[in-house]
């Protein structure tokens, strides 16, 4: 009886307090919420609305065209080609930069005195401006003047022009992409490697898993699961956004073999001023990025955390 009375007496006060606390909580969250809406949600909504119009940059009048931009996009050979090229580019860059990043991280971690030097060297490309570096790479691989091609020639290889050869151009761009990403991935993997308890390697030694392969397969690789997942996702998204090298070096040539999604989008939107179709492509781009991020969150995440 007393208990019941007590709760009855206490609860209104407690309810009021809880309401006040909830209110305070929302008040604290509001500034961040406003920023998210203004900076992230609103632009996406605007882009989506634009994709339903025939708006031309600078034009005064425009009209709703429904999903025409999307149906045109799906029938557009240039768009489909650039989408395919982007996928090929991603398919080379992701495995290349993840595996190389891991290998470099493992090698660098075993150094004691020279570790810092190697880390800095491999990280340098991350800090450079890709636009400027594109110019350098363009020169390095120039068929007439480039030192790389000269070296190949001196070694007896036949002449090649990476950025002029339809079969090589994506590979060439991917190599630059890998070169730029390896350092960043290395840093992430190094962080992951440092977090592996030493005891596990000791236990593996005693259990007989003491060869380089066994240590890697039984301890290092499984323990790096969460790191690897994160690296794959960030690398995929970065690779998907390839633009700088294409814009500076190839402009989509030769024969559109290096047209990639963002470059095509840029041409349609800012050279032809067709904002409607460009917005539709942006939405398509966002969907792909979203799919990758969701795949991380829901499917693979569960299988790599122990």
């Amino acid at each position: 009886m007393t208990v019941a009375l007590n709760t009855a007496r206490v609860s209104p006060g407690r309810n009021a307090q809880m309401r006040a606390e909830a209110l305070a909580g929302y008040a604290f969250a509001t500034p961040a919420l406003i920023l998210i809406i203004v900076l992230l949600i609103a632009p996406i909504v605007v882009v989506f609305l634009l994709s339903l119009t025939d708006y031309q940059l600078g034009a005064l009048d425009w009209s709703w065209v429904g999903l025409t931009n999307y149906s045109d996009m799906l029938g557009d050979r240039v768009f489909l080609r650039s989408l395919g090229n982007t996928f090929i580019y991603v398919a080379i860059v992701v495995p290349g930069s993840v595996i190389l990043g891991l290998v470099v991280a493992i090698l660098v971690q075993e150094r004691t005195k020279s570790k810092a030097i190697y880390q800095t060297i491999f990280f340098l490309p991350v800090t450079t401006t890709l636009i400027a570096m594109s110019v350098v790479w363009h020169f390095l691989l120039n068929p007439a003047l480039g030192p790389v091609t000269s070296l190949a020639r001196a070694l007896g290889f036949s002449d090649f022009d990476v950025f002029g050869d339809p079969d090589l151009v994506l590979v060439g761009l991917a190599v630059i992409g890998i070169w730029q990403l390896v350092g960043f991935n290395m840093i992430l993997f190094l962080a992951g490697l440092t977090a592996i308890p030493r005891d596990l390697y000791d236990a593996a030694d005693i259990d007989g898993a003491d060869g380089a392969w066994d240590r890697f397969a039984r301890v290092t690789w499984p323990m790096l699961g969460p790191t690897t997942l994160f690296v794959v996702v960030t690398t995929t998204i970065t690779a998907f956004r390839v633009f700088d090298t294409v814009a500076v070096i190839t402009r989509g040539n030769p024969q559109g073999r290096s047209d990639v999604l963002l470059y095509t989008l840029y041409k349609v939107g800012f050279q032809d001023f067709n904002m409607g179709p460009a917005s539709a492509m942006t939405i398509a781009f966002l969907v792909f990025v979203l799919v990758v991020a969701l795949a991380q969150a829901f499917i693979i995440d569960k299988r790599t955390h122990y």
């Binding site: 308890p197 005891d199 236990a203 005693i206 259990d207 007989g208 898993a209 003491d210 066994d214």
Partner: protein, 388 residues
């Protein structure tokens, strides 16, 4: 036979000397504990025996053969780590199978997909599963075999780690503070289980701990270490009743031994105003430390027996017995006395003022200025009476 012999082990990390000419002989089937404060080198000895850390000099022999040139897996030792070091991505069964899988399958058969093509693999894996099952039953973890380590409690993880070391039937078990991550209650329980396991397996155990209670309660013999050396090696009772060094006396025993400083005279040792009739071989006028276990003091000073004057400062009641904390009247030095509850109740009123505490001189331990034990006549007679 897995008799273990360490001869002249030394090891330095950089300029720090971690092991300093350590020699130790462990009998087959013995439970030997290395005990000491952190940084005394006890874990390093274990890692040297396991082959995880190469020694700078000295040698390790297991079963009469030198293992110095062998890799950890070839030494046939098993190790249980303080952190348990279970592979978090593997189930309990996989964790426990690991040493056997590595022993019995070749590199090709261990590969994830290709390995399955080998007809031998299936046969070996069935055999391993049966053995893991047997060990799991012994440790009562057969219901946990499909779980991952993250889903287990501390005590269960501890058992899995034990199981992983048991499946391979090692010559020597090395245990590096295996109980220190458990809560107090479970630790007491696992202490009993480990000694029981040792008895059943009959294999040599080398156990490292910083907890003197574990060392005292579990071991056949204890080696107390300090600064990379073994200070004293003996049975738990030896270390308690007959420490060779002040460091041993201080480390072993809870509550800690009382140390009061005194001066040697012709008639005995003078502590403050009291004269303890202990005749030592030292010349007169030397400062010595007198060690008195809490049970060497009593509340009833027998007439004619030596006593010291002290004042009660604190009472710790443990139920059946009581630890009474005193301060020596002259110097204020702390003294702990172990009394039964009845004794304490009987003297309670008297304890409000300064009292005389009886000192059982036969049980006093005397140490010289360097901390070495100095024998005395009354003590020698006592030693015979100490149960081994």
């Amino acid at each position: 036979m897995s008799h273990l012999e360490l001869t002249g082990l030394s090891k330095s990390f950089g300029t720090t000397r971690v092991l300093n000419d350590v020699s130790l002989s462990v009998r087959d089937g013995e439970f030997l504990t290395l005990v000491g404060a952190s940084g005394c080198g006890k874990s390093t000895i274990l890692r040297v025996i396991a082959g995880l850390e190469p020694q700078d000099s000295g040698s390790v022999q297991i079963g009469g053969r030198s293992v110095d040139h062998l890799r950890p897996k070839q030494r046939n030792v098993a190790m249980v780590f303080q952190s348990y070091a279970l592979y978090p991505h593997m189930s309990v069964a996989e964790n426990m199978s690991m040493p056997l899988v590595m022993q019995r399958l070749n590199l090709a058969e261990r590969l994830p997909l290709i390995g399955r093509l080998s007809p031998n693999r299936r046969r070996v894996m069935t055999g391993i599963a049966a053995e893991v099952d047997t060990v799991a039953r012994q440790l009562q973890i057969e219901a946990l075999l499909t779980r991952k380590p993250a889903q287990l409690s501390g005590g269960q993880r501890q058992r899995v780690a034990l199981g992983r070391s048991m499946v391979r039937h090692p010559d020597v078990f090395l245990m590096d503070e295996p109980l220190s991550n458990l809560d107090a209650k479970l630790r007491v329980h696992m202490r009993a289980e480990l000694t029981d396991l040792h008895r059943r397996l009959g294999v040599t155990f080398i156990y490292v701990t910083h907890d003197q209670v574990e060392a005292m309660t579990m071991s056949d013999r204890v080696a107390l270490m300090d600064e990379g050396r073994i200070v004293q090696l003996g049975t738990p009772s030896d270390l308690y009743h007959n420490p060779s060094d002040l460091r041993v006396a201080r480390f072993i025993g809870s509550p800690q031994i009382n140390i009061v400083s005194g001066t040697t005279t012709g008639q005995g040792i003078r502590v403050g105003e009291a004269l303890l009739p202990i005749t030592v071989s030292c010349p007169a006028g030397q400062v010595v430390s007198v060690g008195l276990r809490p049970e060497a003091l009593s509340l009833d000073p027998v007439a004619g027996r030596p006593h010291v004057a002290a004042r009660l400062t604190r009472v710790e009641n443990l139920g059946a017995e009581v630890f009474l904390h005193f301060a020596l009247q002259e110097s204020g030095a702390p003294l702990v006395l172990r009394a039964t509850l009845q004794d304490y109740e009987r003297h309670k009123t008297r304890l409000e003022a300064a009292v005389a505490l009886g000192v059982e001189c036969a049980r006093a331990l005397v140490f010289d200025g360097a901390g070495h034990r100095v024998d005395h006549a009354s003590r020698a007679a006592q030693r015979v009476a100490v149960p081994a």
